[in-house]
């Protein structure tokens, strides 16, 4: 069993799995039950001056019968008295000394920051997280994402906090910006010990088509909320990867957040440089129990790869490149395993209508499209592929025409039926940057080319 313990800028945790600052980390009772279930740490629901919340507060997207593919909320920071939260944090830390307890904070004035930092640290907590990300309600009061979207303000408040804080300070970033490096670099300049990202994305979850009011509905109106859940993971991975590879920010440890539901999702964040990962939506959907799979799955994966967590962390950052650094000579071609094919021909529809017209069905189905890259007429293989399950409904591929786009493999419902096979490349690597550097990037058919 791999050692999953981490030390993130001095915050120690038995594993990298933390509850994000959100409804699951609202009370001492919840956090203690989460620790009992196996969570390594928790970032407490943001403390500040208590607020009044609205009803309703959450919205979700269902896709293809799967619930909560995406989720949003218009709930604000903790609505419980500060003293109650602080007493519970102290109690949790006393009972679970080896778990990471981080207190999320959001206040306005420097005096408030000074006071709340002192009171938070008096609980014995392991660190602080500055909520510069909340994109609804709090930003209208000049806090949350209103700070995260202004690098100068973010830097200054971080500096105030570092002036007073004795424990490590994580700055939580909003994705509602043009370039994540701007707030990331500002946090570095302000003296942050680590970064947490992403906070939620500004969103409207949908529209109630009967009442014609956006969702989630509060009476006759709604407001933009924070989008999260499995659907946002690709956006979060991009932002985490961007900070993990940039020379100005890469020395700061990252707590990755955004749609983590299982060990695989968590491993992806860690591979792109996260030290810890924070989870909210999946817990709101399924409960604290999901951490069992996360611990077991990550540990088994590391063992199978013969890697320690430290060796694995950041191991995919080097593969995150600019487009111009990609090898233009690399080629893959789709291959259909006739024995696994069930004959649904989703790949035919997808390729013909949505990609490059190189997958066909039956012997007569071979009109070559006018834009063909490859001269000549596609010829059906003889004999036609015959499947164990699909019989003569197995499609065939015009391989010279296939651009290796992946679409057929993505839409195929059968795991492993369509695979992308690498075509040998004797020419060696050639990138757009190489072509530009050596003046070879002329592609015929441009604006000023003769017909």
């Amino acid at each position: 069993m791999a050692d999953l313990s981490i030390n993130m800028c001095g915050i120690k945790s038995p594993n990298p799995f933390w509850l994000a600052s959100a409804p699951p980390a609202n009370t001492g009772d919840q956090v203690m039950r989460a620790f009992d279930a196996g969570w390594g740490g928790a970032v407490w629901k943001t403390l500040g001056n208590p607020i009044v919340n609205v009803s309703s507060r959450f919205g979700a997207i269902e896709y293809g019968g799967r619930k909560v593919m995406g989720f949003n909320n218009i709930e604000l920071i903790s609505d419980r008295p500060l003293s109650v939260n602080l007493k519970e944090i102290a109690e949790v830390k006393k009972r679970y000394p080896n778990h990471a307890v981080i207190v999320s904070l959001m206040v306005e004035s420097k005096r408030e920051w000074q006071e709340i930092i002192k009171r938070a640290e008096d609980t014995g907590c392991d660190g602080l997280e500055l909520n510069f990300g909340c994109p609804h309600g709090m930003c209208e009061r000049g806090m949350g994402s209103a700070v995260g979207q202004e690098p100068k303000v973010l830097e200054e408040i971080t500096r105030w906090v570092k002036e007073y804080a004795k424990t490590p300070v994580l700055v939580k970033l909003t994705p509602n910006i043009g370039d994540i490096l701007e707030p990331g670099v500002a946090a570095v300049r302000g003296g942050a010990d680590g970064l947490s990202l992403i906070n939620t994305i500004k969103s409207i979850m949908g529209v109630d088509l009967d009442r014609r009011v956006p969702l989630p509905r509060v009476g006759e109106g709604s407001t933009n909320g924070g989008y999260c859940g499995p659907a946002v993971r690709p956006i979060a991975l991009h932002m985490v990867g961007t900070l993990a590879r940039d020379p100005e920010t890469r020395h700061l440890p990252i707590s990755g957040i955004g749609g983590v539901s299982n060990w695989r999702d968590a491993a992806e964040f860690i591979a792109l440089g996260s030290v810890s990962v924070q989870v909210c939506t999946a817990v709101m959907h399924h409960g604290f129990r999901i951490v069992e799979d996360m611990i077991e799955g990550l540990s088994d994966y590391l063992d199978s790869q013969k890697l320690t967590l430290d060796q694995f962390r950041g191991s995919a950052v080097g593969g995150f490149r600019e487009w111009g650094e990609l090898d233009l000579n690399y080629k893959v071609v789709a291959n259909i395993n006739a024995d696994l094919c069930i004959g649904c021909q989703k790949c035919v529809a997808a390729c013909q209508d949505g990609a490059h017209q190189c997958i066909f069905s039956g012997p007569a189905d071979q009109p070559r499209p006018p834009h063909a890259h490859h001269p000549g007429v596609a010829e059906a293989p003889k004999p036609l592929p015959l499947g164990k399950l699909a019989g003569d409904r197995v499609p065939w591929i015009d391989e010279p025409e296939c651009v290796g786009c992946n679409l057929c493999a993505l839409v195929c419902p059968v795991d492993g039926c369509i695979t992308m096979q690498e075509v040998p490349n004797p020419a060696g690597v050639d990138t757009w940057q190489d072509r530009m550097a050596t003046g070879r990037d002329h592609v015929p058919g441009g604006i000023f080319d003769a017909e």
Binding site: I342, G343, V348, S361, L389, R393, V414
Partner: protein, 440 residues
């Protein structure tokens, strides 16, 4: 959709509940979401009316239920009853790619019922028609249809939707054909068939019941007064065995008995403990199951060959066996045995393989060995060829008979197939008529 046709509430069939009730919207969407939405889908190919099944299921999944019904009705105007009576296991559902993948195939019949029944409910609730007849641009034609079964209803409906006049003549008191008189109650009650008939009427079809062509109305007058005639008269009386003591009480034809169970409020099932059904087709299985479900303790099916030779579907026979029905194969009835009072006491059977005879004790015998052809009627129309079995010969594409003005469809051309085949016939005949009238 008011209909003048109604049935008394108390009938035997009402005791046999719907085996596959309408899905709730949540059930329908959950099932629809499972559909892969195949390209050039094999389920479409297996449907005799070629309904665009993946398309209507996709619409159910998006909540576009009326759109789903439109997709169905465009190809099969009797999509509601077909959803309930089709042997989907050997048609669309049997072709679902999930079968080969060892996953549960999509419940296409139940989804089709959901969409079409929702349309009927929507129209009843709002009074607004989803499908509306066109105004014909090149003149309105008039067609007479003989028999108000699925073939004629479909033909008439598609003619009416194109703006043409369609008048159906039905000799019986109730329209709907076997959908009203013959479908097993656990699949479809007669009211539901009449509900669909009323829907067809709402499209502009005229229905005249209690009018027998050849008796009340001459064939020549139909030919003279209409641009075309469609024959959809189905089949005649249940076939008999012609064996000793067959005539008399206690021996029933299957379709006659089923019609009593379904529609005759005064009909009481004879208080018997043992009943024997002769035949190996789907009608035999239907009546055997109906008798068992109505409380006959011992129901036996007698068939002249083995189970593997039965024309009845295996999935239906499996259900029959689960209800305790036994099959006695390789036996042919040679005589009905009667007691002193004239009641049935047994059936004398001959072993069709080994020879020799034995007696099966039974108090009721039901003959499900096919139906006679309706004779004479086709002669009256003149120039209509029949095949060796007495079926009307009709073109495979146009359903035109050897009399160019007369088209035919349903059981009278195929000798007894599914409702969905009759619908395909009627629809194709309507399309062919219109093509013939207006082709440049």
């Amino acid at each position: 959709m008011d209909t003048p046709y109604s049935l008394p509430a108390e009938r035997l069939e009402v005791r046999l509940p719907d085996a596959k009730p309408k899905y709730t919207s949540a059930e329908a969407r959950a099932e629809a979401e499972r559909c892969l939405y195949c390209h050039d889908a094999p389920c479409i190919e297996k449907c005799p009316t070629e309904i665009n099944i993946p398309e209507f299921i996709h619409k159910i999944a998006s909540g576009n239920t009326l759109g789903a019904a439109r997709t169905i009705l465009a190809q099969n105007i009797l999509g509601y009853t077909c959803a309930r009576v089709c042997p989907v296991e050997v048609l669309c559902v049997g072709a679902c790619v999930y079968n080969e993948w060892h996953k549960t195939p999509i419940a296409i019949g139940r989804l089709q019922r959901y969409a079409t029944e929702s349309l009927l409910e929507h129209e009843a609730l709002t009074g607004q028609a989803v499908l509306r007849p066109k105004t014909p641009t090149e003149g309105r034609r008039k067609v007479a249809l003989v028999g108000a079964g699925p073939a004629s209803l479909a033909c008439a409906a598609y003619l009416a939707l194109e703006g043409h006049e369609a008048v159906i003549y039905e000799r019986g008191a109730l329209p709907g054909g076997l959908n009203t008189t013959g479908v097993a109650p656990y699949k479809l009650h007669s009211e539901d068939s009449l509900r669909e008939v009323a829907y067809v009427q709402s499209l502009g079809v005229t229905l005249k019941t209690g009018v027998e062509v050849g008796r009340d109305l001459s064939a020549s007058s139909l030919l003279n007064d209409h641009d075309a005639v469609f024959l959809g008269m189905g089949l005649g009386a249940d076939a008999r065995l012609s064996i000793a003591d067959e005539a008399g009480p206690g021996v029933w034809g299957a379709t006659a008995l089923i019609e009593k169970i379904k529609n005759d409020a005064s009909f009481k099932l004879p208080a018997v403990k043992r009943a024997t059904v002769v035949g190996g087709g789907n009608t035999a299985i239907d009546i055997a199951r109906e008798l068992a479900q109505l409380g006959v303790a011992e129901v036996v099916m007698v068939y002249r060959r083995g189970a593997e030779h039965m024309s009845g579907y295996k999935h239906e026979m499996d259900l029959a066996r689960k209800e305790g029905i036994r099959l006695v194969g390789w036996r042919q009835p040679v005589a009905v045995l009667r007691d002193a009072a004239g009641g049935v006491s047994g059936l004398r059977l001959r072993d069709t393989q080994q020879g020799g005879e034995e007696t099966l004790s039974t108090e009721l015998v039901v003959l499900a060995i096919g139906q006679e052809k309706i004779k004479g009627l086709t002669d009256a129309f003149g120039g209509i060829a029949l095949d060796q079995k007495g079926c009307v010969v009709a073109d495979a594409k146009t359903r035109q008979t050897s009399n160019p003005k007369v088209y035919a469809g349903g059981d009278c051309i195929n000798g007894g197939k599914e409702v969905v085949n009759a619908v395909a016939d009627g629809r194709d005949a309507a399309r062919a008529m219109i093509q013939r009238w207006f082709a440049a």
